[in-house]
């Protein structure tokens, strides 16, 4: 960014000095962000080695919603109604009271499962536990945190001020706020971290009858996901259920789906700890395209370049203080008119 652009040759000296000055102080600070980006750049974070997560395989999902109900129970969340009879818990999307939901993709006659044309498919929506979460970067008061070992992105209502920057920042639209409550909290999946001490793991994976939602170390889940992608569609393989990285295996034999050759979450924004497999294009089932570079790393690079150690602000402040000290007393309203006039001309 060069300052040259502002001066078209028609601007008198004083004005030019002003423009230069504006850029010199403030603009340079920002322009510096681009120049020194490489030096100060904060890399996209990767998952911790022992990161925990889920593998959701849409081709195995039967849409029974046992995981939705189990999630409600595990998190003490009330039912939400979208039908007039109010008989069943029927949330239409995740909310401040619903942290996990199964959505349906529909096309045409909806004849066959996992067909993009005239078919239908399921997709699970819940927190992805990003390696480099936007919500954690955004939160001003450290109410969103990422555990250094498990990588679980946790929420602390006691710290939260309810600014909802996490809500607008998350690329998956996951943190949701309880707008109907005067003491509303943010609601989102925390991988059932409150149940670990009792020997439990994520409730959704615990109850899933087909293993479509599988719990475990993300590294193990990634190996399993790649194994499935390498198989021939239609062939038979063994599918584990429950917890992939511990406890007894309750596996069963099933047919291999016609997977898209992509493990969603492997590289998106540096990777997520929840991984997904699908036979329908990920964009069509509501999973956004995300580059391998996280937006949190871009945002924090700017932030650190401009304000890291407060060097830049103090430098600018120092310069401005020096100049202001020279100029301010000339403008003292109460100064007697004996002061030589004419300083304004410059």
């Amino acid at each position: 960014m060069k300052t040259r652009v502002g001066n078209g040759g028609v601007i008198p000296a004083g004005r030019r000095r002003f423009l230069k000055g504006c850029l010199g102080t403030a603009g340079a600070a920002v322009a510096g962000a681009t120049v020194s980006e490489r030096a100060a750049a904060r890399e996209t974070y990767q998952r911790p080695a022992e990161a925990l997560g889920l593998l959701y395989d849409a081709t195995l999902c039967i849409g029974c919603k046992a995981c939705v109900a189990a999630c409600k129970r595990a998190n003490d969340n009330p039912p939400e109604f979208s039908t007039t009879d109010k008989l069943w818990d029927t949330p239409l999307d995740t909310s401040g009271y619903t942290f996990n939901i199964i959505k349906t993709y529909r096309s045409g006659t909806m004849a066959t499962k996992d067909d993009e044309e005239n078919g239908y498919a399921f997709m699970k929506t819940s927190c992805m536990h990003c390696a480099d979460p936007s919500c954690v970067s955004a939160c001003p008061v450290t109410a969103m945190t990422k555990d250094a070992t498990t990588g679980i992105v946790a929420y602390d209502p006691e710290a939260c001020v309810g600014c909802r920057y996490c809500v607008v920042a998350c690329p998956f639209g996951i943190p949701k706020y309880q707008y109907d409550s005067p003491t509303g909290k943010i609601g989102k999946c925390e991988l059932c971290r409150h149940r670990y001490k009792d020997g439990h793991y994520s409730a959704c994976a615990e109850v899933c009858p087909t293993g479509a939602t599988l719990y475990g170390r993300t590294s193990d889940l990634l190996v399993e996901a790649k194994r499935r992608l390498a198989l021939t569609p239609g062939s038979v393989t063994t599918y584990p259920r429950g917890n992939l990285s511990g406890g007894p295996q309750q596996s069963y034999e099933g047919k291999v789906g016609n997977y898209k050759q992509h493990v969603y979450g492997e590289t998106e924004y540096g990777g997520t700890q929840v991984l997904k497999l699908s036979a329908v294009d990920f964009a069509k089932v509501g999973m956004p395209y995300l580059p391998p570079k996280s937006s949190a790393s871009t945002s924090e690079t700017i932030q650190h370049t401009l304000y890291g150690g407060l060097l830049m602000p103090f430098a600018v402040l120092g310069a401005l203080t020096y100049v202001a000290k020279r100029n301010v007393h000339h403008e003292d309203d109460e100064a007697p008119p004996a002061e030589p006039p004419g300083r304004e001309e410059s």
């Binding site: 652009v5 502002g6 004005r15 002003f18 423009l19 000055g21 504006c22 850029l23 600070a29 920002v30 962000a33 681009t34 936007s134 970067s137 955004a138 939160c139 001003p140 008061v141 450290t142 209502p157 710290a159 001020v161 309810g162 600014c163 920057y165 809500v167 607008v168 920042a169 690329p171 706020y177 309880q178 707008y179 109907d180 003491t183 909290k185 509501g286 956004p288 937006s295 945002s299 690079t301 700017i302 932030q303 304000y307 602000p313 600018v316 402040l317 401005l320 203080t321 100049v323 202001a324 000290k325 100029n327 301010v328 007393h329 000339h330 003292d332 309203d333 006039p341 304004e344 410059s346």
Partner: protein, 389 residues
Amino acid sequence: MSAQQHAQPAPVGGSLFNATTLVCGILMAITATIIIVRLFFGLSSTTNVNDGYSWGIWVVVDVFIGSALACGGFCMALLVYVFNKGKYHPLVRPALLGSLFGYTFAGAAITFDLGRWWNFWHIFWPGYFNVNSVMFEVAACITLYIIVMWIEFSPVFLEKLGLRDARRKLEKSLFFFIALGCVLPMMHQASLGTMLVVMGGQVHPLWQTPIQPLIYLLSAIMLGYGVILFESCVAASAYRRQIEVSLLNPMAKVMLGIIVLFLVVRFTDVAVRGALPEAFRASHIALTFWAENLCLVATFLLIGTVEARRNPARLFLAGITVMLSGILLRLNGFLIAFDTGPGWSYFPSVPELLVTIGIFAAEVFGYIYITRRFPVLPREETYAQPAHS
């Protein structure tokens, strides 16, 4: 120019009870009522904000736009004290006053938008700081700036109270606060732009760029001068005073310089990132992008020449076009070009609009009260003589 240039500020005087203040009072009472309802029954009782658009006009208009419109004070301070253009001095106090109210009420507005407002002090408590958060930077900076502005403005009160010694002492250190009062708004106005960066692909490519802090900073400075043009004309007509054309004319020229710079930065960035084709799609997004930037072009058509800048009506209109552009830049980034996926929509509810209007009314009321009772606006006689330029 002569030594007379330094017009002594004086209270305008006159009654505080008139049609304007009465209307302001009613609007403020309505606002207070709505805020109480909101605090007792949650955000959905009064607003249309939802998880797709969790920030409505209370954040985007009252805080992001409100604070930008309140940049007049720092822009004048920059001009007068840093670039030593003493002739602009009479514009400083009124501009600072506008900023003072703009920011103070923006600060108040954000508090009742906070979902867990009783925890607001966490933002200032080191144990909770997240220095990586742009929101943290903005919040801390704005709060500090509000305090600094009250200090900067306090000579006016001390003057009124006749505390000459206290005032003299304060003024010895005022240069430091003035410098601080320039750095802080530059920091958080730039950061308002950075706030968009973490939102990634949810913000349309025409507004999603790492150069956003520079764009917002330049826009805030432009806005600052635009608001001074606007305010000076409004104050002059409301109080039936002469418009300070001799000052506004050269100041407007400074503003034009910054507009040129802004447009070059804005379009270079869009072109370099390859987002330019987006501006030529047949969509409301492209339309609003052009509206934002054509407002600035319109400013040039209005006051591009010295002659044109002698015309108060043109100065007034130019103030409005610049303000519009800045308002659109912020509306676009945070609401119009912000897309969180299908199924979400937002339009402010009536109570939401009333609160925003009420906050504006409070600012107008405060401005009237202070200018009528305290020495802010320059004493009239000085400007009774023919203007020169």
